[in-house]
Amino acid sequence: MSSNAPSFDDDFEFIPDQITESRRRAGKLLVRVFFALFVGIFALQILYKTSMIGFGFENWRPVLYAYLAWAVAIGVGQVISRGEAGYRALFVLPAVMFVISVVIVPTLFGLVIAFTDYNLASFEGQKFNGFDNIVQLVQDDFFWNAMRNMVFYVLAVFVEYAIAFGLALLLNADIKARKFFRVAFLLPFMLSPVAVSWMIGKSLMENRFGPVARLARNLGWDSPAFFTNPWIARISIEIMDAWVSIPFIMILLLAGLQAMPRDVIEAAKVDGANPWQNFWKITFPLMLPVSATAIVLRIIFKLKLADIVINVTSGGPGGATDTLSSFIFREYRDRSNVGYGTMIAIVYLITIIIFITLLLGFVSKRMQKMT
């Protein structure tokens, strides 16, 4: 890690400190000593856990401490061996090392688990089973079903966007008590999806006593049930998720609307055109960049949708409301199937990366065409 550490390139006003050769060597040595310590403890623990030697630590915690010590040594080593440049590297180094240790290492570890039959409920321990998990995944109807549901949930983002745009326009209109409306509209975003699951899913939409069910009965739906028919269940889940997240899109769009120069809009207004035409001719095109940001961000968050599904329907009826995340959650919770669950997660991650990359490519291409 010390070999490809941050260094400076074209910062013209920056004069590197004069570092003596011995100081540079001391810094490098420090990092190497702590790295050796980390590797040593790691190796010791592996030998102990595989019963090749009789002494070691009860758990892997000391390895973590050695790792942290090595990380600190890298930081100190930077300063010792590079002076001011090291001090500057120290700004960004903690975050980089943190993300690498908490994301990259576990993801690589997950990649290994994904090719095993790891199951926490079995006593035999895990072993590699090659591509068995992938074969199982391709044949798993529940996986494909969850994927189809994700398509529905992602497409629903555009409906959320339309509503949020309407709300943003309302808030941007010449109204009194704007702050009150803004706070009221924002509040759903603050609530935990788990609480919302109960507040809306389990009480407002409750079949017997819930006010929504009562309203539905008054409107002529004899026995309202929001989570038994697949499509109604899916839409009910989507409504709850939309209720929580529409404020998020709304705030982004409102910021965009407020940043638009008023005089440009006034000047661009076509004589005799009504507000509706003006909106489509002026406001909407000007808002496209902000809209794209809002929609892409919202889709990214939507792809993680799980809490509401887990707590309201557990994916039911018959998997109709399942998202990929809630499906994997149950795969682990009900069957302790860590190996297979991780394989689904990795496949899902790859799908997301491809999808988001294509989406960003599409958006930036369209944006370039516009300007």
Binding site: P94, A95, L170, V183, I310
Partner: protein, 308 residues
Amino acid sequence: MTSKAEEAGNFEHDENRFRLLTILSRVLIYSLLFFWVFVSLFPIFWTLTTSFKTAVDVTRGHIIPWVEFQPSWKGFRSLGLSPDTIWATSTVRDEFLKRFTNSVITSIGASTLAILIGSLAAYGLSRFQYRFGFMRNKDISFFFLSQLILPPVVLALPFLILYKELALLDTTLGLIFLYTLTVLPIVIWIMRDQFDTIPAELDEAAQVDGLSSWGAFFRVILPIALPGMVASFILSLILTWNEYFFAALLTSSEAKTLPVMVASQTGSQGINWWSMAALSTMAIMPLVIIGIALEKYIIKGMSAGSVK
């Protein structure tokens, strides 16, 4: 040829029509606004009032307090939080307070850690030129931001096994690490936006005065960037306070947070509505208060960098 009188008449006619349209659009705007206020607030109102209802009020669908039903402390009594039980011992309240404390420690701890390393990184990326292997500043920023697309499920199961080996399973510290990760991209995004608005001349002036780069950051830049820090801190707080997925998988008895407790109660059938409502009310109240009091910062944080 129209006479002058006719012209004046037309004009008056147009004026009237215009005024009518304005009034109509006003009415439409305000009715839509109030409709959405109803949509946004009714579930919160419903939860709050249901926590003061008795069984009869729930089954009869009474909605308006004092008019349709007399509020009772039943729901809060079952949590041990009503005026008459608040001084008595209550195992439910102890359980609730433990989960509440866990949530407070976890969310504040993770937000603080994220602000700490996130602000540093954002400042560095905003001011200095880095080269990290083939990665330049732009790539490093993208590297941080790209963590946003990582769905929690990908990390959850590997972490389950890693934490088990590291004896971090069911610990608050373990949760704090993961939560820090989930909010770090957002913190860096907001703070970078914030630092970019502060002119670099300020840093240079501070360094001319003899401060080091770290001295300039802490003494000069950080105080100016405080609004951005507050905004990203509150946004982190909201996200971590509400987090359920990791908490449900990685905690069991010790480090369990409030959302997990709420979820475990909803799972059991035949749970009393009033105590469930009281529990939900207590779980959402801190954020509702924060939302009302600090709305300005939340909006600042959410809209950071979206408008260029």
